[in-house]
Symmetry: C2
Subunit: 273 residues, 2 copies
């Protein structure tokens, strides 16, 4: 346990700016923490790469964050969570930083929906191919039927908003069709970019399907985790500091990122990954 609780910084990693959607909820629900957000803007997007490459890139990111003094990291990125988290915990964390923690987004979201009979999942190709959500949901509810679809065009289309405005609804309908046909009762948005389309997705899926905002769920679960783990807690009194690192200059990170975060990103540093 740290002697000086004020030094606890929560690291948030995403391949790009999508994780700012998650960080937004942390800032609301856990404002007393310091946060260090890292985006691998030099190698984004991860979603079409192999497991080995995603593991290697995520390892570098996590290592960078730990070297900045972070003791608890949230892999906000679904692709990194599904492809790298387990191996990082087994091979890297235990040997290098046994008293620190890396948490992902798959388990908290899987727990949330696992009481339903028919569950939908959308995400990048890597996340869907990994079957990570299926595995975690089945652990809790072996009877659940999981219908998943990879939706690789959503990230580039969201990132080119508003040019994509006229066409995004059409592709969304196409991607969601098999999930709607199977009458899924709950839908996991398995990529941090997708809450940007929350209203559209809810409209297409209809009132019989519950579509959560993943940032909201993950933030609540983190709050619970911190209550159970006093070693990562921080003083309640002070307002946290917020720092951003990106691995490559990116106008998009500050422009679109500020939209995702709900506040202006004024300053960032470059991380050599």
């Amino acid at each position: 346990m740290l002697k000086n609780k004020e030094k606890n910084i929560i690291g948030v990693f995403d391949s790009g700016l999508g994780g700012l959607n998650i960080l937004k909820h942390f800032l609301k629900d856990l404002p007393q923490y310091d946060y260090l957000y890292l985006a691998d803007t030099a190698r984004v997007p991860y979603g079409n790469h192999s497991q080995e490459t995603i593991y290697h890139y995520t390892l570098e990111a996590v290592d960078f964050l730990f070297k900045q003094g972070v003791r608890l990291i949230i892999l906000a990125c679904n692709t990194a969570s599904s492809q790298a988290l387990r191996r990082l915990q087994k091979e890297y964390l235990i040997n290098n930083y046994p008293d620190r923690r890396i948490l992902g987004v798959i388990i908290p979201l899987a727990e949330e929906v696992s009481r339903s009979k028919r569950i939908g999942v959308i995400g990048t190709r890597a996340t869907i191919n990994s079957q990570a959500y299926n595995l975690e949901i089945k652990k809790i509810n072996n009877q659940a039927k999981i219908i998943s679809n990879s939706t690789p065009l959503l990230v580039p289309l969201i990132e080119e908003w508003p040019v994509s405005k006229d066409i995004i609804h059409k592709i969304l309908k196409k991607y969601l069709k098999p999930l709607k046909e199977k009458r899924v009762q709950e839908l996991i948005l398995g990529c941090t970019h997708y809450p940007f389309l929350l209203k559209d997705i809810r409209k297409i899926m209809g009132s019989h399907c519950q579509v959560f905002d993943p940032g909201h769920i993950i933030s609540i679960k983190l709050k619970n985790y911190l209550q159970r783990h006093p070693e990562f807690q921080t003083e309640n009194s002070k307002e946290g500091k917020l720092q951003f690192y990106i691995s490559d200059e990116s106008e998009k990170f500050t422009k679109l990122g500020s939209k995702f975060l709900g506040q202006t990103i004024k300053d960032y540093k470059i991380a050599k990954l």
Copy 2:
């Protein structure tokens, strides 16, 4: 000059599979050469990254190709050509391999269109922001008016073909509108993916605008270059060998890549970049 001309291998580099569009023309026009095609599938796409990052990645790719014995490299990638070529020639080539050559795609395409009054250019954000085509065209024809537009959604949409079929025409019309309104007489497809949409683009631009297949132009220019540079020539009699290297496992490379190349890609090796 090499004593054994048979050993001349032409290296073709692209961030992804788009350059196979160019290689297809080389195989037709210069079948006697050996080719080594390298795609940086672990870090594709380059088009939204900073100049520094693109330079760094391209340097690693070029260095890899030279270490395989390649003596002449074509940067088929417009983004790499516009962001890295000049600096590679000045800082890297001269110090490391002064008797080898790296050629790009910007100059041959700029030369081809530069007699027109109004020239259109489309490409990735990095290529368009670099103004590389503008600079090269203006060197030849200072009076030319150049109208360019970055079209960042075309690569992901082409890569997700045929899911994107219903929407690609709509976004293409939107992207080409400012060029059509300015009545450009010739249009440069400044990205190796775009010939995939050649028919659509020609249809939208109409009969008053000439839209070249960049692979065809670059191949003819390479043929001329090789005639002027006997040190890179090879024996006419033999049929060349074709090798592929990619930096990350990619199903897309063999599947969509075979479509781009016009023949099946059966085998490849992994390059650690």
